[in-house]
Amino acid sequence: MKKLIFILCALVMTGCATTNVSKKDFSAFETAAPRSILIVPTVNHSLDVDAPNYVLSTLPVPLAEKGYYVFPVNTTKVVLEQEGLYEGDLVQRQKPEVLAKLFGADAILYVTINRWDAQYAVIVTTVTVDFDYRMVSKEGVEIFKENKKLQYSPQNNASGSPLAQLISAAINAAVARAKPNYMPLTRMANNDVFVTGKNPIPDGPYKAISNK
């Protein structure tokens, strides 16, 4: 378990190191001051054809809890399909200004799945998720960018806090299946990027109301 925490800490540090400064510049974000976020279908660079929809299902809750109106992701997907846009990469090639106008959105979130795989070895299996997150204002200006990679290798001699063991057990159980469940790591990645990490996005308008 100590190893997991070490890996996660190392990952967090790596994530920050790429920005050079510890705090992100959110001036573009604050200028855009989005009230609503359109989450479009994800781009998949992994070999798992199911990954895009699975990742999509995890994105609305943390962003809405952050205080934004989040357009319903499945409804969005259906609308885009009616426009002939079936694949995430096709959607991401559209002009953001046009997409934003079509939905009446203030900002668009693009997520790319770089990795979503499990590497099986004799002693340990390593599950990896790696996502790029990019947010663009309705004018087409980039207002947020982050990468998050999380890996987990369950250890048999897990020890540590009950909480850490809980997570360990959840992921262990997932890995034990023929097809591993990537959802715990995916949720953790989203949470880290939007809510609990070092440079989460600013609170949205509904959060501000609820904090008053």
Binding site: T58, Y69, P72, N74
Partner: protein, 113 residues
């Protein structure tokens, strides 16, 4: 780090009641036979939030509406899209055009408002 882990583990969410929205959507993507279950459970959550005088989470009304639309239940779809529109002003443009689309389709008549 401990904070990050605890936040993940407890799924701290204080603003809205989601009724398992994300998990149900995942299940529905995994197995299309579970789309109806997704709709029914969302409707249950909506009813619970409404009776508790809580604001229904963003998107829930519209997601129910879309499932109705896809099963051909246009009146129910319109009803839920209107609820989304009236609850969340940010959704107004999209919901209005979806409602107009549905109402235009069967009759081919111009919509007069």
């Amino acid at each position: 780090m401990a904070l990050a882990l605890s936040a993940c583990a407890t799924k701290k969410q204080d603003m809205y009641q989601w009724g398992g929205y994300d998990g149900l959507l995942y299940e529905a993507y995994k197995d299309p036979n579970k789309v109806e279950e997704f709709r029914i459970k969302l409707e249950n959550q909506i009813a619970a939030s409404e009776s508790a005088k809580q604001k229904v989470a963003p998107g829930l009304y519209a997601e129910v509406g879309t499932i109705y639309l896809q099963s051909g239940a246009k009146e129910s779809a319109v009803k839920y899209y209107k609820l989304e529109r009236d609850t969340w002003p940010e959704s107004k443009a999209l919901m209005t055009s979806m409602i107009e689309n549905i109402e235009r389709r069967p009759t081919k008549e111009e919509i007069k408002k």
